[in-house]
Amino acid sequence: MSAQQRTKRETTMAEKQELSVREKKELVAKEEKTIPGRYYVPYADIHETDDALAVVLEMPGVEKKDLDIALENDVLRVDGQIDFTKYKDMEPVYTEYNVGHYARSFTLSNKVDREKISANLEDGVLTLTLPKAKHAQPRKIAIG
């Protein structure tokens, strides 16, 4: 993919629209949380290429060290904690959004190579790259 193609695609995605605000969605978990504080569902994009699936999650305010990514029984669980000690001695006078931890789970299919999952956190956006297992990658069949 050339740099030019990439730029073009980014521009189309960005469009010239104004960004709007959406209310954060509170997490409705199957199991109860044992730590206090509300959880929110991070916005996610999922896209797939020939050799990998990517899950992109928006978790503003979560530091690398407070991020927990676990894979258990086909479920990939992402948990991001907010370090609220930063808000110490700060008195809210006007607020438009609430601050809380983030959690979201994804069920994986068997086409993901579990050993090779990688994660990258940048500007509050977590990108999980899930490479496809060899058997799940597309193959060209030559006609004999």
Binding site: R9, M13, L19, P36, P60, V93, G100
Partner: protein, 140 residues
């Protein structure tokens, strides 16, 4: 917010405090209203104010902050990109431009304004102008 002592209660009470101030009319008389992106929270710390905005996915280089008088203007653009030849299974993240102004109720010292951007959160430290600081009057 004097309850910040107990680490287990602190977040809950902080979240409640944030909720209590939602829809408060603090900035109503100004030109900026609610509903604009990015959403902001305004805090007071001592004499000074702190504005915090969540702008996950916006690059530092795409973020611009201007201060003029009592007004702080936040402009920028957020791009969401996908690799070529990819199939989209889920698309919740939004991209676009934003331009927002927040007017403070007191004069701020423009030279003392500091901006920090980390992990998708923008924090602006706005020191109150010297002329706005309360003066103690000695009772003769």
């Amino acid at each position: 917010m004097a309850l910040l002592m107990d680490p287990f209660d602190a977040l809950t009470s902080f979240q409640q405090a944030l909720d209590a101030y939602r829809t408060s009319g603090w900035l109503d008389s100004s030109v900026s209203g609610g509903g604009a992106y990015p959403p902001v929270n305004v805090f007071r710390k001592g004499d000074d104010f702190i504005i915090i905005a969540e702008v996950a996915g916006v690059k530092k280089s795409d973020l611009d902050v201007q201060v003029k008088g009592r007004t702080i203007r936040l402009t920028g653009a957020k791009t969401v990109s996908y690799p070529d030849k990819s199939a989209l299974h889920r698309r919740e993240r939004l991209a676009g431009k934003f331009d927002r102004a927040v007017t403070m109720p007191v004069d701020i010292n423009p030279d003392g304004v500091k901006a920090e951007y980390r992990d998708g959160v923008l924090a602006l430290f706005l020191p109150r102008a010297e002329s706005e600081k309360p003066k103690s009057i000695k009772v003769a």
